[in-house]
Amino acid sequence: MATASVAHHDAAHHDHHEHEHHDNFITKYIFTQDHKMIGKQFLVTGIFWALIGGFLSILFRLQLGFPDMNLEFLRPLLGGWIDEGGKLDPTFYLALVTMHGTIMVFFVLTAGLSGTFSNFLIPLQIGARDMASGFMNMLSYWFFFLSSVVMFISLFIKTGPAGGGWVVYPPLSALEQAIPGSGLGMTLWLVAMTFFIASSLLGGINYITTVINLRTKGMSFSRLPLTIWAFFLTAVIGLLSFPVLFAAALLLVFDRSFGTSFYLSDIYVAGEALPNTGGSPVLFQHLFWFLGHPEVYIVLLPALGITSEVIATNSRKPIFGYKAMIISMLGITILSFIVWAHHMFVSGMNPFLGSIFMFLTLIIAVPSAVKVFNYLTTLWRGNLIFTPGMLFSIGLVSFFISGGLTGIFLGNSAIDIQLHDTYFVVAHFHLVMGSASFFGLLAGVYHWFPKMFGRMMDARLGYIHFWLTFVGVYLVFFPMHYIGIAGFPRRYYSWTNFEFSNMYTDLNMFVSVAAIVTFSAQFIFLFNFFYSMYRGRKATQNPWRSTTLEWTTPIEPGHGNWPGEIPTVYRWPYDYSKPGAAEDFIPQTVPLSQTPESNLPHEQEQVKLELEIMKEEEEVLVANESKH
């Protein structure tokens, strides 16, 4: 039965292409307007950036873990950034941490995650032929590409890339005299981020429009998979917060190049008193974190959405508390805009503001806690299948708990006095934002790879990849809590100048080794990804026996996704293991009227309504046919 329907789809698929247009290489793979190909473009670019970002972290972990090591062997790559003694240049060290942060937050976990899966999944899961505007979607990728090129070039210039931290706080980022990276490197950073913001906005407008307008018949908001809810809310957050980053960056450009004083005041640098007065560096911090904090949820929500989907599918159980999940995501969305100043408790802003933001910040922990409990209850009494996607999802929940709990320390301004800008913060956000989102990304790739490329990734390599990465991530970031409680500051080239931090060389070495092993383990994934793309086992139409719409398309859907009519949706996306049903899943396209054996009482009542609607439609269809 299944094979027959696949064959039918395939035939239809060919027909469809025959009298549609023929794509050539450029329109199919480069300037494509097909959301699926654009998603894949984002994914491959994201993977490229993840490798660079990861590699940069290995470079500075070498310095931190093995401060006496001779890095002469890196000279062919880093040139003058290795000094005569074979040591890493301290300025370049700062550039490394800055670029690592920028790349990972924006290029990998925003574009690589949201860009990939929002593009790929939204039309497939809501039942649309493509995004609302394919052209804008294409622009979105190419702005991102342009941004990538500019940022990539900045890595190689003589004065080095931006080096003032990924938060680019002025005056450091505004004054070339203060750090060489604030010259051309920072200019390129700002140009790249401008293109990036444009790309994000184009993408976000498209995601929102598509979700609101292009849902297929029957796909009400209360029947949307949680992935779509997550992508939708993420896009809303991005749309409201990225323009603020743009404003902040624009004012910074003015200060850097046109002599204004938005952020600069009373500065004496390099033997010279600057004319700027009246500006406030704290203003920049407010503007930056107005994006910067929602950004955390921009990278996290899609990962949580993907996890909800993967955990429900592989637990063979409906996600527990579908409505509670949506409400908590809505809560997070709204609250994410009013907690930004918890990054600034000791910035010198009014302590009363600190009190307000402490209350607001700890409120946001509540919806996050609800999500965790709902995940746990979804696993409870499930029938768990450990696909690689499922493993990474469980890993995500673990990181989300570990990193989320340390947020309760940092959100408390009294405790934050000591912990602010120490390795405790580094441990916190690498777990809750970095690793959790990264695992969401990997879970998504393993889970939807069959839909993307029509083939399966090798599960065993996936298992090995998961266990090495999962254990590795904990070995890298868990010890950082101890270092942080001991007061080790962030962005330090070396800790031996201070007596209080002149210890834990063993622990830092351990962290660096763990980081190198974890990074190396990613090559297993890379091999699996590219090998499976061409030589992987052929996928079946619905390999995970999932309920959502994307698995009703042909194995390799063409542009337009469904060869015939777009399917109609009759139920929510989580009818797994429904009592009375023969199979342990019922796709969204199966009408309630066909499953009287498993309908719940309130669904039985809807059957009548459903039949009426179907009858009406039939009549319309017949009427249309007769007109022809």
């Binding site: 527990f320 508390g321 450990f386 408390n412 007061g487 007596e499």
Partner: protein, 345 residues
């Protein structure tokens, strides 16, 4: 030569891994296990979760207990006792949640691993549960927040009037310290007055500045309130005194402050830690450029009497460098000269 051998070795290793990979793929195709819903790997993964829980749980407890004395820095300020208590209370609360959720998260996979003869239970929602686990974290967090807020309000309240004032100015890449002198009022400053001989930019036309004096280290009395007035000359810095549990950004153009009461003298701490070299330190915790990791200043906490004695011994800017008073208006110059002559007596 070594490089070549290593290259060959890596190549061999990779090809062996490749062979193993191909063989296991082919075997799984022959066995038809790729058509099953789950393979034996499902059980292995389930077991690994439990092993991970046990192994990592053990490591965490062992290391946390073994290293406690190392990572828990001794506290040397009054508010530090409060914030550390908050820290450990929060640790206890989150620790319990951490353990419970992780035990569930890793035991469920073992307990509910796939079995063909079982069906997952259809359990889509339960509003009562949702309300409970919204309300309970809400209440717990409220308690934590309110205690935190009370501590925060105390710490950030205005400093007592009798607090000893010390100005700390950050610049690339060091700190400079200025004391207000006998009047306990710092003189005005202006960044445009900064020169090689006046690195603070002190405005000596302000008579409060005449008795201001610099110091190579921060000297403060034990048991009395101390107010750090913090500023920066070029880019952002942040004053971090880990033993004092003190941190505040230094912002160019916007002076900041932090007051506290030190509770242990340097000498007492040396005895407590059995480390005759011990010094309280200030480090920078806001990225500020190449030398960010080397902005060290020593704090010396002394008994109040010793502090008064030390204060009396210090020489003001003007005394150290009379040239600073040269370009002052006539009446200010007179004041400065009186001061100079007083010190000569």
């Amino acid at each position: 030569m070594y490089g070549f051998l290593i290259g060959v070795g890596v190549l061999l290793l990779l090809s062996i891994i490749w062979m193993v990979y191909r063989i296991q793929t082919l075997v799984s195709v022959v066995k038809g296990s790729d058509k099953k819903i789950v393979t034996g790997s499902n059980k292995i993964n389930a077991i690994l979760f439990v092993l991970f829980l046990l192994g990592f749980g053990f490591l965490m407890f062992w290391y946390s207990i073994k290293e406690f004395g190392n990572y828990q820095l001794p506290i040397a300020s009054e508010h530090g006792v409060v914030t550390d208590k908050l820290f450990w209370v929060t640790m206890a609360v989150t620790g319990v949640v951490f353990l419970i959720t992780h035990v569930l998260l890793f035991v469920f996979p073992y307990k509910y691993q796939y079995r063909e003869d079982r069906k997952a239970s259809f359990y889509p929602d339960n509003n009562k549960l949702e309300v409970i686990w919204t309300a309970v974290p809400g209440v717990v967090l409220a308690v934590l927040v309110i205690t935190g807020w009370m501590a925060w309000s105390d710490i950030t309240a205005p400093a007592p009037e009798k607090a000893h004032v010390v100005e700390i100015m950050g610049y690339q890449f060091a700190w400079e310290v200025r004391y207000p002198g006998k009047d306990n009022v710092l003189g005005d400053y202006d960044y445009r007055l900064i020169t090689a001989s006046n690195s603070h930019g002190v405005d000596f036309t302000d008579k409060n500045a005449l008795d201001d004096f610099p110091s190579p280290k921060v000297v403060i009395p034990k048991g009395e309130p101390v107010l750090f007035k913090i500023r920066a000359r070029d880019v952002l810095h942040s004053v971090f005194a880990p033993h004092m549990r003190l941190k505040m950004d230094a912002v160019p153009g916007m002076p900041t402050r932090f007051w506290f009461v030190p509770t242990k003298t340097t000498a007492e701490m040396r005895i407590e830690l059995n480390d005759p070299e011990f010094e309280y330190e200030i480090a920078c915790t806001e990225i500020c450029g190449r030398g960010h990791f080397s902005m060290k200043k020593v704090i010396e906490v002394v008994e109040p009497e010793a502090y008064q004695k030390w204060l009396a011994e210090q020489k003001s800017f003007i005394q150290q460098n009379p040239a600073l008073a040269e370009n002052l208006p006539a009446e200010m110059k007179e004041l400065a000269e009186i001061q100079l002559s007083e010190s000569k007596k």
